[in-house]
């Protein structure tokens, strides 16, 4: 019985202010859509993929080579991420940015357990993202040559300018904004309900006034 009343109360508290909650929801979704579509600068990402280990010509693939290459991949990843590569790119291209800025744009990862490394660059311009990804890939190959004294990395795929932005994602943003708005709305409904110190129920009369309740009159038109 008590439980049932509690659920009814919760339903009543929320349904009493459903219009405000709905308005908040619509406002949040609209704002996030407008912001994502018109105000946030889109970010484009392009990746170049590289293979560790030269494609063998004619000879059989030796299993030891493959294992060596796999172990090298982790090292190469770190080299690709290093400031050495980034600063070399900045010097070569005369870029107006700090080494850390460029490193923040570069994302290097090993493609699931293979000898393939993907180097991607995020930028507000799709062309520049592709161009920088290729520059980083080429510089990285050069650096591997000087640091490791190995020449066993080759480019499989050059980075292409991407047509769709990776961020912002208007739908995802709108969904998050909508969920947050509903949570906030429900929270505010409860906050208002508990701040509202008016007399409301027969229970309030019993508990606070210690006077008999002669009756309750439903709200009617004309009152």
């Amino acid at each position: 019985m008590e439980q049932e009343i509690e659920i009814r109360e919760i339903v009543a508290i929320v349904s009493k202010r459903w219009k405000a909650i709905l308005a908040l929801f619509i406002f949040a979704v609209a704002t996030s859509l407008v912001a994502s579509l018109y105000f946030i600068q889109p970010v484009y990402e392009s990746s170049a993929t590289l293979l560790v280990g030269k494609p063998t010509e004619g000879t059989q693939v030796v299993i030891q080579d493959v294992q060596l290459n796999r172990q090298l991949v982790k090292t190469y990843e770190e080299i690709a991420r290093s400031g050495v590569v980034a600063s070399a790119v900045i010097q070569d291209l005369n870029l107006d940015m700090s080494v850390n800025q460029l490193r923040g744009m570069i994302n290097v990862r090993q493609v699931s357990d293979t000898e393939i490394i993907s180097i991607s660059v995020s930028d507000n311009s799709p062309d520049r993202a592709a161009f920088l990804a290729n520059s980083v890939a080429n510089t990285f190959i050069t650096k591997v040559g000087t640091i490791m004294n190995l020449d066993n990395v080759s480019i499989i795929d050059e980075a292409e300018p991407s047509t769709s932005a990776v961020s912002p994602r208007p739908n995802l943003n709108a969904a998050i904004a909508g969920v947050l708005a509903i949570m906030l709305g429900v929270f505010m409904a409860f906050a208002l309900e508990y701040m509202d110190n008016t007399i409301k129920t027969p229970k309030d009369v019993e508990q606070n006034l210690e006077l008999p309740l002669l009756g309750t009159i439903p709200f009617f038109e004309g009152e």
């Binding site: 009343i5 009814r8 109360e9 339903v11 009543a12 349904s15 509202d196 110190n197 008016t198 007399i199 409301k200 129920t201 027969p202 229970k203 309030d204 009369v205 019993e206 606070n208 006034l209 006077l211 008999p212 309740l213 002669l214 009756g215 309750t216 009159i217 439903p218 709200f219 009617f220 038109e221 004309g222 009152e223």
Partner: protein
């Protein structure tokens, strides 16, 4: 020689019944609620024969006068001779509910002897009589506390089974306390979701200070509809 024009309270229009729901629609749930209140008042204080009841609220706008009018209608329907007095000498509204003019009323009867009760009384329906407040006096609280007023109400008691006195809000001015001190009982009206709890409690304390006999509380303007949790009564402890 000044010729005196006799003023009377007459009806003006006919679309005033919205507020008098008990008269307009006796079968509605609201009218049923008023019947319940009528019964509860009847049995609220068995030791004492209560003839004069004061209706008040803590604050302005809690529907006090509408409740009083409908309670009067409901009591009259039960065959009681009911008189409603508009003792809100500051902001009278009862005459609007019964749709009569407030040309003459209680203040005339108290302050000049030339007008008779019959000329000022209005009967909106069988068994129900209404006395408007009349011209606003400069000193409402003193007038309501005067011996003249007490004697006037005592003189009315022999003509009616029950007298409902509509007073201003208890916290705003002292008028309600003054009346409560010598009337038989007080009904405290509180509008749900409108009157702050502590103000209703303050009104109750204020009335108890003047030894008022508070019969109980009428919770007014209770929201209806689905999901409303207001109608939960707890039986027992």
């Amino acid at each position: 020689m000044k010729k005196k024009k006799r003023k009377t309270n007459t009806h003006a229009t006919d679309n005033y019944l919205d507020k008098l729901i008990t008269s307009k629609n006796a079968k509605s749930p609201v009218s049923e609620a008023f019947r319940t209140i009528r019964t509860n008042i009847e049995f609220s204080d068995i030791d004492k024969d209560k003839k004069t009841l004061l209706t008040t609220s803590a604050t302005q706008g809690e529907g006090k006068s509408v409740v009083t009018a409908n309670l009067g209608v409901t009591m009259a329907m039960a065959g009681k001779r009911v008189l409603i007095l508009d003792a809100d000498l500051r902001n009278p509204t009862m005459h609007k509910i019964f749709n009569v003019r407030n040309n003459v009323g209680i203040t005339n009867l108290l302050l000049n002897g030339s007008i008779s009760l019959e000329e000022t009384l209005v009967s909106p329906r069988p068994n129900l009589y209404f006395l408007p407040c009349g011209p606003l006096p400069p000193n409402p609280a003193e007038l309501l506390g005067s011996k003249k007023m007490r004697d006037f109400i005592t003189s009315l008691e022999e003509h009616f089974d029950i007298i409902l006195v509509d007073a201003p809000p208890a916290l705003a001015v002292t008028d309600a306390s003054v009346l409560a001190s010598y009337l038989d009982g007080v009904i405290l009206i509180a509008a749900s979701g409108q009157a702050p709890l502590e103000q209703v409690v303050a009104a109750k304390e204020q009335l108890l200070k003047v030894k008022a006999n508070i019969l109980g509380v009428v919770l007014n303007k209770v929201p209806q509809g689905n999901g409303s949790y207001y109608y939960h009564y707890h039986y027992g402890q």
